[in-house]
Amino acid sequence: MAQLSIIVNGQRHVNEIADNILLVDYIRETLALTGTHIGCDTSQCGACVVHVNGISVKSCTMLAAQADGAEVTTIEGISDGENLHPMQEAFHEQHGLQCGFCTPGMVMSAIELVEKNKDLSEQDIREGLEGNICRCTGYHNIVKAVQTAASKMQR
């Protein structure tokens, strides 16, 4: 057992955790933030993407202990009260989801992609989302959503 001190969506949490608990399990089970999904559990699908110190990571491939002292943002932490984040709004407007299972990870990956890169081409967006798999294969509208959000976020 180890002591974990972590800031998640702006709120500090201090917990005793098992050394081998994954960050995604800590987020979902200890903090009950179930917006972060577990799709494949083999580091491939990206449904579990969160931001750790501003960097997008697959939270199923990181121990919670590794995130000790870090600031974590999950899908629950990106809206401003009732106002959706521009990326969420764009996924809504462009119908960038079908079943919605991959959406939290897609949105978190896409936010980092847009924040760190200017003038993204369609190809850049497709390559930038390589770590996120949509089993409904709804990629066209996801790309459109990211383009829409990018134009708003970078205006």
Partner: protein
């Protein structure tokens, strides 16, 4: 995942002590291979020793060549102005590993410590005649990669940094596996003062990364695509698996060599 202990040493000495104290300790770098391995229960170390807080990250472009700390992530190498200026082929290579989240966590030291036969970095280190510095010694890349998932590292040896010599020409081309982006074949062609002209191949060899003598000799004679075309690529020592036959990998070696050469400028 089996139960395991986690420790976060503050310096190399503490890391080595933790390794000695553990029965079967494992060093944790970016975790992009190790954690999936643990989750699949393919390994059960009793202790994970996290190297993220012992100051092994960073890139220095001063002097002749580049020095990259072992815990520097692929994303940091990809975006480094020093790497882009002095060794752009390495930035391209780093930017083609896995996906963005893998590049955000995965490290150069972790990659070469694991020495996956389909990893990209081993080809760069071998072609560029890089030197690997550990807490014990400095090793030439030629002596470091000793086989599939095998290296010259001792059990309690920790990579601290990788030094790339002054490079005149360098280019990397890979045919990535469409699902994993691991190299089905990756070819790194380089000309350095330290190593001369080298062609290193990853993703194809039964013993991991290797230099291709035939391509090196042909390109030493004539540094052009025709020389590659005229070189026979033997497939008897190449890997055959569900992704590609040895014969197909031999074909890819020739094609990726041509692409690397064409991009070398």
């Amino acid at each position: 995942m089996y139960a395991t202990r986690y420790s976060k040493p503050k310096n190399i000495e503490e890391g080595v002590s933790a390794l000695h104290a553990a029965e079967d300790g494992k060093l944790l770098a970016g975790g992009m291979t190790l954690i999936p391995t643990l989750k699949q229960r393919l390994a059960a170390p009793d202790c994970l020793i996290d190297l993220s807080t012992i100051g092994l990250s960073g890139i220095s472009g001063a002097g002749d060549g580049l020095i990259i700390g072992a815990m520097t992530t692929h994303a940091e190498v990809e975006r480094s102005a020093d790497v882009q200026k002095q060794l752009p082929a390495l930035s391209v290579l780093a930017g083609g590993i896995g996906d963005r989240q893998v590049r955000n966590c995965g490290t150069i030291g972790g990659s070469i410590a694991n020495n996956d036969p389909a990893a990209c970095y081993p080809a760069a280190l071998l072609a560029l005649a890089a030197q690997i510095t550990t807490n014990k010694r400095t090793l030439a890349a030629d002596d470091y990669f000793t086989g599939m998932f095998e290296t010259a590292l001792a059990e309690d040896e920790i990579i601290t940094e990788i030094k790339f010599p002054k490079t005149h020409k360098a280019s990397y081309a890979k045919f990535g596996n469409p699902a994993s982006r691991y190299a089905m074949v990756g070819v790194f062609i380089a000309k350095t003062d330290a190593g001369g002209l080298r062609v290193a191949i990853t993703g194809a060899g039964q013993d991991g990364v290797f230099r291709h003598n035939g391509l090196e000799a042909a390109l030493a004679q004539s540094f052009d695509v025709a020389a590659i075309d005229a070189t026979a690529i033997e497939d008897s020592e190449l890997m055959s698996d569900i992704h590609a036959s040895a014969d197909y990998r031999a074909h890819l070696i020739k094609e990726m060599s041509k692409r690397a050469l064409q991009a070398i400028g």
